[in-house]
């Protein structure tokens, strides 16, 4: 019997009337590290997160966190889960001090000192109502609330939305610091591909509710390359295309006159087969950034919903 994953989505589906937001989504996140779920607006990320933290009942399938059914045992599961929502939803009239008193009463593993320490470090005023804090301060407060709950799982739904570059970097640094400090698993969704590239261990890319990619970020980056070859009329386009099939060309076909292609199954063996099929002069093999991979996968289709 294996170790229960921290997050387990099993055939998850969410439907809004006739609209399918999440379609048969299955994934597992093991203990430790950061899992980043990426996707365009309306791709189904937020619906997935809502199901994951037991705030929304999936139309089909189920979500489990920390071994509990997220819908049926939400209260029990949330004892060790910290959530930073897309839009911080702390009651607007409350202050950091008052919300701490509430959290101390309802959260079993609450650590006040850690909470106040974080607020102090992030320069979040404790006596000011939440509505009057800056966006960055609101996010820092939401993160402080989530982290002071001593979570085993931290769920962040687009935590850098609306933050400037400095604030984004600060937030990620905090996160990495926390990870180093204790055994915590992070499940985050984000648009901030550059930011997440440096910290995520594993990524999933969701498009139209379906998971296109779900693997360690290093593996993903090793698979995806951009090949550039010297322009030539000697080798017919059909042969180049046939050769690229061994490397899994993204997009299916090479545009006439082009001399580069993004491939998703780059390997030594495949590269040799390509060279045999299409004897072109490959001038460059570039690895891709996460953002480039994301665009290559999602950019050519209309966005989700």
């Amino acid at each position: 019997m294996g170790v229960e994953p921290i997050v387990k989505l099993d055939g998850l589906a969410v439907q809004y009337g006739k609209l399918t937001a999440v379609d048969d989504l299955s994934l597992e996140v093991q203990k430790g590290g950061i899992y980043a779920l990426l996707g365009r607006n309306g791709s189904g990320k937020s619906s997935t997160v809502r199901c994951l933290v037991g705030q929304q009942r999936p139309t089909a399938g189920r979500a489990r966190i920390l071994g509990f059914d997220a819908w049926k045992k939400r209260r029990r599961a949330m004892e060790r889960v910290g959530v930073v929502p897309e839009n911080p939803d702390v009651p607007p009239e409350t202050t950091a001090d008052r919300v701490e008193r509430f959290m101390a009463r309802v959260t079993p593993f609450w650590r006040s000192a850690k909470y106040f320490d974080r607020l102090e470090r992030m320069h979040v005023p404790r006596k000011q109502s939440f509505a009057r804090l800056s966006k960055g301060q609101q996010r820092q407060l939401a993160l402080a609330l989530a982290l002071a709950s001593s979570p085993r799982l931290l769920v962040l739904d687009d935590p850098t939305l609306g933050l400037d570059a400095v604030a984004r970097r600060k937030l990620y640094e905090e996160l990495i610091g926390e990870l180093a400090e204790r055994e915590m698993t992070v499940f985050l969704t984000t648009h901030d591909l550059a930011g997440v590239e440096g910290i995520a261990d594993r990524v999933g890319i969701i498009q139209n509710g379906s998971l296109l990619v779900n693997e360690p970020i290093e593996v993903l980056k090793a698979r995806y390359c951009r090949l550039t070859w010297a322009a030539t009329d000697q080798v017919p386009r059909q042969r180049i295309e046939a050769g690229l099939q061994h490397l899994g060309v993204v997009g299916g076909a090479v545009v006439a006159g082009a001399n580069e292609a993004v491939v998703e199954k780059f390997s030594e063996f495949g590269f040799d087969r390509f060279r045999q099929e299409a004897p072109v002069d490959v001038t460059r093999v570039d690895s891709l950034s996460l953002e480039e991979i994301f665009i290559a996968l999602c950019g050519r289709e209309p966005g989700g919903r």
Binding site: E79, T94, R101, R105, P108
Partner: protein, 641 residues
Amino acid sequence: MNATMAVMVREVAARRELFVLAAAVAVIAAIVPYLPGVEDADSVDLRTVASLTAALALGWLMAVILGAQIIGRDLADGRLGFFFARPLGALAIWAGKAAAAIVTVWLCEGIVLLPSLHGGGVYHFLMGEGIVWIAVVGFLAVPLALYFLAHAVGIMARARTAWLFLDLAGCVLFAVLAWFSVVPYLTMGARIALLVVGGSLAASLVFALAAGGAIGLAVGRIDLRRTHGALSLALWGTLALLCAAVVVYSGWLRDFGPSNFERVEVQTVAPDGRWVETIGWAEGRLDVYRRCLVSVGDKRWLALPAQPRFHSRGVQLQYSSDGSTVVWLGSATGDAPRAVWWADLGRPDPSARPTNLIVARDSALVLSAEGSRVAIHEDGTVSIYELDGERMIKAIRLPDDLGPTAIFFPSPDALRVFARTADNDQSLLMAEVDIATGEFARTSELDALAELSWIGVDAAWERLVIWKRTEPGHVPVKNLYRATDGTFVRSVNLPGFPRFLQDGRLVILNQEDRVTRLIVAPFEGGERTVHELAGREGYWFLGEVVPNEIALSRLADPLDRRQGLRVELLNVDTGEVRLIGAHLRRAFPWFQWNSGTSGVVFWYNSQPAASRLFIDQRGALVRWDPETDELLHVVGGRRKP
């Protein structure tokens, strides 16, 4: 519980500004007596009224506003995720927020009421009869109901999903059901049942609203539309179940017959004594009563529409003289017109039959002697119909100078009218109406009637006595007339209230100097018979139960009224007295009245069949049977005496 308390404390603290508002309102209420223009009023009363009114208004308003905002607005603004991201159960979140709102409202009401404590104002106010309950309902229950109502409506209005159609249909159905559930009790004037059934429906609605809100949030969580769907299903499902229970209970409350009567009262008796109109109450049915005609002999019964008790005219059944037919007005709420109903009591299976005759609420009905015709006296016009077939025979407009009027049929083709004239004298006018021609012929005008006067008539409507006292404390005058043509016969000087025997003689029960005397005097004059009932004080006259024998009653135990009456028969010719029963109560009021048709009140002297009816110790209606000389059970009574 801790979680609920935590949410509640947080929510109350979040709305602490409302307590400042309540304090400001309290200050305003406190200074009301010092405002210009009210210097003459009692300051304690003024302050009390001001703070009570302000507390009530503020409480209700806050309940509506908080109900509409809490949870509904959180859902719409996407702020409920804060709570659902914590280890809090949905019910704890809902209950904590609801409790916070209600506690806030009640505390604010309490703050505003503080000025009324000064001078004991609110204490004196609460001393009023029933005021405590009104205060409990007004200050505690109504805000609670308003909160839950506003809470549900707030979610429905914000979500605006297709479930709104169910909500609208549910509202309409509930309103219709509630109306039809309480109407029977409104009609019969059963206030306790009205409160219990109406209150149960109201409580069901509040409970269903609360259950809908709680289940809605538990199922929908942060999804407003899903919350609306779950709320609607839970609300109307719960309400349907609870309403079904209330309807079943309400049906049970009203589903009983004479065999279930625990307590019974007699309203009218057919002249031949075969049918009795009773009102009965059954065990455990609150103040719900059943009005029915019961056959004395074989206990068959006929349900009659309920009517508020002590209703003036039109409620009493009107029998034909031979007891074969009875008419009455159907039930309706308020002053609405109502149908004329009738029953042929001569049939083996008599049933209540509505007619198409719709008349005003205060119309009066009179039947001809054999029951074939009915005269309806309505707004100064007498309309005569054939009862079977409802054919109008004649409509006769009575002269405008008539005051209160009584009518009866001396024959099927004629009406005799007795009326007070509308002038200052208020004489008793007698007139004959020819139904075929509609001719109204005045036959005579008798004494000027004083305000304090009574008119007695014998069973055959042939003899009349006018008893009047011109001024309070004066010796009353008693004049005798022939009721057929108004001929004056004589004045009598008899000490007491004269009644007619069936043979036309007058009888008076007089008690003076600790001696009870029964005086019997011929109508035309002549020798009086006086029977002294020595040592028998405290007699009441019940009626002539068989010719020349009258029933008298006195307390079975003078020291304990609960022991009821001893009933004795006195032979008016021989003076012989014999006991027929003890521990009985009168089945009828002190006097038997015939209200006539329109305000001329006749003291109806001789109803032998009615005079034989009593209520025994078990609360059962019993009748004295002249043939067996026994008291026979008619209907009702507790099983265990």
